[in-house]
């Protein structure tokens, strides 16, 4: 057994002995006590230790009336038991024959012992019933806890799967960029700012005859949530929107462009700042341009 398991078991037993166990730990304690005689013996020892704790409080004699009231209750209880055990003899004793009296005495003794036995059985059954009710409550609690834990694990699993999917997507994206940028024969084109106060620039990686290209941007300012960067390709006659992007906090962004035909068929590229919703009104500003 690992130290941590042993410590967990000892913690359960200590809390049980002190009567401070949380309801959530009852099922674990029950399982431990059922399976381990050593744990049962340890709990007994700890209970004996705990039974000394009341002596830490200064002992004080309770007032005499407490004892007197208690003993009066007990005397009344004994009298009630005696009445219950023996019927009033004055009604019958005058005319019963000795044989009948003997038989009655035997029946009374039998009934008396039967009553005591039944009282004992009722008390034992009541105690057993209480234990069973407590066990059922514990089991219900354990089932509820288990279901809650299962739901929590399922939600966690779903979140992990989403995260893995996002990471796989990102890895695939990065792999494409690396293969594009580092492959032999790649041609690069530069995109420069249209305004002197902008330090932004773009680097476009492309292959002659290929419809795909990668553009790496730097120095671009982050935009308001309702604005977006859009990349354009132009062949001198027609202008084609080839994707939108945002930049991160450092002003960097990477865009994979998939054109309707080979990229080198176009003569010009540009980046504009536009409303996020293309249908919404708003100013369109060209901030980067380049020739292919």
């Amino acid at each position: 057994m690992h130290d941590s398991d042993q410590e967990r078991e000892q913690a359960l037993l200590a809390a049980a002995a002190l009567g401070s166990l949380d309801p959530a730990d009852l099922a674990a304690l029950d399982q431990l006590l059922t399976s381990s005689p050593a744990a049962r013996a340890e709990l007994q020892q700890l209970r004996e230790t705990v039974a000394l704790l009341p002596y830490a409080a200064p002992p004080v004699s309770p007032p005499q009336r407490v004892r007197a009231q208690l003993m009066a209750r007990i005397a009344a209880d004994q009298a009630q038991r005696a009445r219950g055990a023996s019927p009033n003899p004055t009604r019958r004793a005058g005319w019963l024959v000795p044989a009948a009296l003997t038989a009655l005495a035997v029946v009374m003794v039998f009934l008396g012992s039967l009553t005591l036995s039944l009282q004992s059985q009722v008390a034992a059954l009541t105690a057993t019933n209480q234990q069973l009710l407590a066990a059922v409550r514990d089991l219900r609690q354990a089932v509820t806890d288990s279901e809650a834990q299962q739901a929590q694990l399922a939600a966690q699993l779903a979140r992990s799967e989403q995260q893995i999917a996002r990471l796989n997507e990102q890895i695939e994206h990065e792999r494409l960029l690396v293969s594009f940028v580092s492959a032999p024969g790649v041609a690069t084109r530069e995109l420069l700012p249209t305004r002197a106060d902008l330090t932004a620039r773009g680097e476009m990686y492309m292959y002659p005859g290929e419809a795909q290209a990668v553009v790496v941007f730097s120095g671009l300012p982050q935009l308001q949530p309702d604005r977006v960067y859009r990349f354009w390709l132009s062949d001198g006659v027609q202008r084609i929107a080839a994707g939108t992007f945002h930049v991160d906090a450092t002003g960097l962004a990477t865009l994979v462009v998939t054109a309707p035909r080979e990229v080198n068929a176009y003569t010009e590229v540009m980046v504009t700042v536009e409303p996020t919703d293309a249908a919404a009104p708003g100013e369109v500003e060209v901030i980067l341009t380049g020739t292919l």
Partner: protein
């Protein structure tokens, strides 16, 4: 009512032997158990509840339940854990009825100042004093944080989670303190030889 020679005979019996007589309906045996242990039960109730009247009710109800439930007491078990378990549960019931827990496990001492003590059997008193000396020493030897959680659990009637909330500490820390504290207490009492005077 028990005769003098009966009382002398009863004083020599162990708690567990007296319980067999109580189970058979012997009220003198119950009175003997009361005379032996009511002071400690009352002290415990005063410490947990802080005031005399409910503590007196706990004492009377504890020994009434011992009388009524004597047949459920299993031969071979120790009497003291069973009896103090009844008394402590009654105190916790009272605390729950009030919906107020003691602010500190060390209270109750103040209430004792107003409660006049009375003489009792010398032999029994010596036993009590010795037990009190041993448990007080063992508790004093514990690190303060372990002693605090044990007292909150036992005298405050708090669960581990309630202690964690009250002390604003992680639940795991409270469990560790209780485990270590109780283990040390057990070892200390064994070292002091508590078994020798307990049986």
């Amino acid at each position: 009512m028990a005769q003098p020679h009966d009382v002398a005979r009863l004083t020599r019996l162990s708690d567990e032997a007296l319980m067999e007589l109580v189970a058979a309906g012997d009220s003198a045996a119950l009175a003997q158990l009361y005379d032996r242990h009511s002071r400690v039960v009352y002290g415990l109730a005063l410490r947990m509840l802080g005031t005399a009247e409910p503590a007196e009710e706990v004492v009377q109800e504890t020994f009434w339940r011992i009388w009524k439930r004597a047949v459920t007491f299993q031969t071979g078990n120790s009497f003291l854990p069973w009896m103090f378990g009844i008394a402590r549960n009654l105190c916790i019931d009272e605390l729950r009825r009030r919906q107020v827990r003691p602010a500190s496990a060390s209270n109750g001492e103040e209430a004792l100042a107003n409660v006049p003590d009375q003489q009792q059997d010398v032999e029994q008193s010596t036993l009590e004093i010795e037990r009190r000396r041993l448990i007080t020493s063992a508790l004093a030897d514990l690190p303060a944080d372990q002693r605090e959680v044990i007292e909150l659990a036992y005298f405050g009637g708090l669960s581990q989670r309630e202690i964690a909330d009250q002390l604003q500490s992680p639940l795991g820390t409270i469990k560790t303190r209780i485990r270590l504290g109780l283990q040390k207490l057990k070892q200390a009492l064994l070292h002091y030889g508590i078994d020798a005077i307990d049986h």
